[in-house]
């Protein structure tokens, strides 16, 4: 054993490492797809005079889970919101550089932002189901995009609720208010709602930070299951979560991407001293 071959157990402690190896769904060693979903080039982002992202260059792989980590205010959520142009809502926000999805530039005025958001779904930090029934929550997206047939909607709702591992819990209460669900169920419902428009990419902005550990692990299982079908980009404050589920990790600091590589290497042998300081808990 050379010095470089530090085991995950040494880094994370025994419990986490066992979780990692015990979980059959998790297969970090599986070869990653070579296909790139997002290409981010020379991206600068300003809120008024404040520069929130500095010269970001990044490739996000298809059918992989990419996580963004870093201290609060480092720009990771900002970058995530660039990927489906949610930053358009902020008037003072200005973006330079380019982001492309499968080779197509998503910036500029000639892009149908609603179609982009249909392809790039998003789940938020705080579960935000609409104050309507479980069924209507899931059906909202498809209805918006013109699906009216009752039978089609029924099928779609059932299949995405199954995909989101929520069907068994809600199949008898599809007509009840979504707000009556628990926090974890609400978040899985939000994932189902995002999946119902059949996106290519799913953006998750700290999806478990408002949830208890059991709900969190359900969401993590779900996300790992989803990566065979979707490309997943996730912001998290929980480094163990990044280790548990992600294929690639990017570390952000003060608006810069300090390093991005496969998760295992980033946590085992961080190339940059700042990454090492952060993941070993010296700041953040």
């Amino acid at each position: 054993m050379t010095n470089n071959e530090i085991t995950m157990e040494e880094i994370l402690g025994h419990d986490v490492a066992r979780d990692l190896t015990d979980d059959a769904v998790l297969d970090i060693a599986a070869p990653l797809s070579d296909k790139i979903a997002f290409e981010i080039r020379d991206l600068d982002l300003f809120y008024g005079d404040f520069q929130a992202l500095k010269n970001v260059n990044m490739d996000i792989r298809q059918n992989a889970i990419t996580t963004f980590i870093g201290p609060s205010g480092c720009g990771k959520s900002t970058l995530l919101r660039c990927l489906n142009r949610m930053n358009d809502l902020i008037e003072s926000c200005r973006i330079e550089g380019s982001i492309s999805l499968y080779g197509e530039n998503i910036g500029g005025n000639n892009i149908d932002v609603n179609m982009l958001r249909k392809r790039v779904g998003m789940v938020f930090q705080k579960p935000n189901p609409f104050p309507m029934s479980v069924y209507d929550n899931v059906a909202y997206g498809p209805r918006t995009h013109g699906i009216r047939s009752r039978a089609k909607l029924d099928d779609l709702v059932e299949s995405v609720l199954r995909e989101a591992v929520l069907w068994d819990e809600v199949k008898d209460s599809l007509r009840k208010s979504a707000l009556a669900l628990s926090g974890g169920q609400q978040q899985r419902l939000c994932i189902a709602r995002a999946l119902a428009v059949r996106p290519d990419v799913l953006l998750l902005d700290e999806p478990t930070s408002a949830l208890d550990p059991i709900s969190t692990s359900k969401i993590e299982d779900l996300v790992m299951r989803l990566k065979s079908t979707y490309t997943i980009v996730m912001v998290t404050h929980n480094m163990q979560q990044a280790v548990r589920i992600s294929d690639e990790t990017a570390f952000f600091l003060l608006g810069e991407v300090i390093e991005m590589t496969d998760t295992k290497s980033l946590f085992a042998m961080p190339a940059d001293r700042r990454t090492e300081a952060y993941i070993t808990g010296r700041f953040g």
Binding site: M86, P131, Y140
Partner: protein
């Protein structure tokens, strides 16, 4: 010396007690006012209804206080109030709600400030001024269009629709503004347009607040007196047509209170009792809807 111990000054204690009494009586004053009005209304109104007979009073279609023997049936006035209020809501609520949606979700800040100021001013216009506007603009317009006198239920309905706009707009705007931004973002995130997000998520989420706004509008319309008196014609007959004159409960009271005596006078107060019961029902449904909103929206 113990620094924590309260200084035992007798004067301070008395002052404190005195202030408590003053605050308490200020708080009790409004409650007392409502109770006294209730008491007065019912003490004079209920015996009058008993004398006329409940059925005769509430379902009688003849209001002839000076006939011998007199008839005191207020059904025409109840129907008149319901019609005028219904018309007002049918016209005022859609306009008010759409205006509120525009103000809250579509207007640039400058226009929003301008409209808000205008709506606020509208709420402050005295009802006699509305009535004057109705008399010189709405009544003649209806008269010319339908070749009638013009003073009618329709005139009162249009008048009231305008008068309840500020109530409906202001309360609906606050209800729509109070919908969490996360609902809007959630809708955008599945590819909905701004319009789809607003109309299919944000506004439905505000529905209990919007419904409360309409109910308060109903309360305002049914209780309005002066402006209605000036445009409705005041014939105490069952309304036959929207473009004919009619009379509401409020206008019944104000038209005859000046010269009524004895049972006639008490019958007018009894009309007030019925109106009061209507208002109670409206307030009750308002609080039920508000509470259901809290349960359902969590807001």
């Amino acid at each position: 010396m113990n620094a924590i111990r309260k200084p035992q000054v007798r004067g301070n204690r008395i002052k404190e007690l005195l202030m408590k009494v003053i605050f308490l009586s200020a708080a009790l004053f409004s409650t007392a006012a409502v109770l006294i009005i209730c008491l007065f209304l019912f003490a004079r109104g209920i015996p009058a209804i008993n004398e006329i007979g409940w059925l005769n009073f509430l379902t009688g279609t003849r209001w002839k206080p000076s006939d011998v023997p007199p008839s005191f049936g207020i059904l025409p006035m109840i129907v008149g109030s319901v019609y005028a209020t219904g018309l007002a809501i049918a016209m005022g609520a859609p306009v008010g709600i759409l205006a509120a949606i525009f103000i809250s979700k579509f207007s640039p800040p400058k226009i929003r400030r301008f409209i808000n100021a205008a709506v606020g001013l509208m709420a402050g216009i005295p009802s006699v001024v509305y009535g004057y506007f109705g008399m010189v603009v709405i009544v003649p317009a209806i008269g010319r269009t339908f070749r009638v006198s013009g003073a009618s239920l329709l005139a009162a309905g249009i008048m009231l629709a305008i008068m309840i706009l500020p109530t409906i707009i202001q309360l609906s705007v606050s209800a729509i503004d109070a919908v969490p931004a996360t609902y809007y973002e959630g809708a955008l995130a599945v590819g909905a347009t701004h319009e789809q997000s607003v109309f299919r998520v944000v506004v439905p989420a505000a529905r209990s607040g919007v419904l409360s706004a309409i109910i308060l509008g109903v309360g305002r319309a049914i209780g309005e007196t002066m402006a209605v008196t000036m445009v409705i014609g005041n014939q105490a007959v069952m309304p036959e047509s929207l473009i004919r004159g009619a009379r509401t409960m409020t206008t019944n009271i104000i038209t005859e209170m000046g010269y009524a005596v004895d049972l006639h006078y008490d019958a007018l107060i009894a009309t007030g009792v019925v109106l009061f019961v209507f208002i109670l029902i409206i307030n009750f449904s308002f609080s039920i809807i508000k509470n259901r909103g809290i349960k359902y929206d969590g807001s």
